[in-house]
Amino acid sequence: MKSLPNYLQTQRKRLSLSQEEVGFLLGLAGLNKGTKVCRDENYAREPSLQDALAYEVIYGRPVRELFAGRYQQAQQNVAARAKILNFRKVRKLDVRKQQVIIQLADQASINPSNQ
């Protein structure tokens, strides 16, 4: 199953917080604090790293769980690149490096929803 890009709304409703309150906690300025949170929740805005970490603090869930869809996408992209890297010929073979690359490449077959 493909995860949703983010689960911010689910987590916010779990804590009974309003979008404006979350906006205030994120440190967003201006009158339209809630609008930015709304845009994050509706996948219309990509929050910055600072905001993503603040979401983790507010909701008490890891970023990769809050942004499960994005994490899944990043994991697949890294795995695809690791496969390419695995085929690259190197003069000096480093066993540890090889293991890491194989592990990363294998992540493409792991279902991220089980994590």
Partner: protein, 166 residues
């Protein structure tokens, strides 16, 4: 048969005032639930909202109440709306699962007999964080049905999608 498999399910309960919806990813993971009141052009408005929900939550299965089952009585308008939703879902190549009210009662109460209030209380106990606050007071003979009951109808349908773990 689906057993605890992670599948995103969107349950829609079309009712007289609008519709209730629930999104679940596993038997105990309720992603979203709520109700939408539609006051004018109810069937057109309800179908538009179903399309919005499908676009937003990207479900794999659409769960609807079986309005043609022997244990169910629905208004002609709701039957038409139900037919429209099923037709649209089939055009979009969605899996549609119809669940009757008896199936919901058997799964949640363990009995064919039971009230909507009992089903709602069972669901509120199962999902206290999401549903406890939304549980309406017990309906008295002189009261109309609480609009929040739509939510419990939809969550009941979504929960019944997964067979009980024995």
């Amino acid at each position: 048969m689906i057993k605890n498999k992670t599948v995103r399910v969107l349950a829609i309960a079309p009712l007289s005032r609008g519709l209730g919806y629930a999104v679940m990813e596993s038997p105990d993971k309720l992603i979203a639930c709520g109700n939408k009141a539609i006051l004018r052009h109810k069937n057109v408005g309800a179908l538009a909202w179903v399309k919005k929900f499908v676009q937003f939550y990207q479900p794999e299965v659409l769960v609807l109440p079986d309005v043609n089952a022997t244990d169910t009585r629905r208004a002609a308008r709701i039957k038409t709306l139900h037919r429209n939703i099923v037709t649209w879902a089939k055009q979009q190549q969605f899996k549609v699962r119809l669940i009757s009210i008896t199936q919901v009662r058997v799964q949640l109460l363990g009995n064919k007999q039971g009230t909507k209030q009992a089903v709602a209380e069972t669901l509120a106990a199962k999902f206290p964080v999401e549903l406890e606050k939304r549980l309406p007071p017990k309906r008295r003979p002189w009261m109309s049905e609480d609009p929040r009951m739509d939510i419990f109808d939809a969550v009941g349908l979504a929960t019944t999608f997964w067979p009980p773990v024995r």
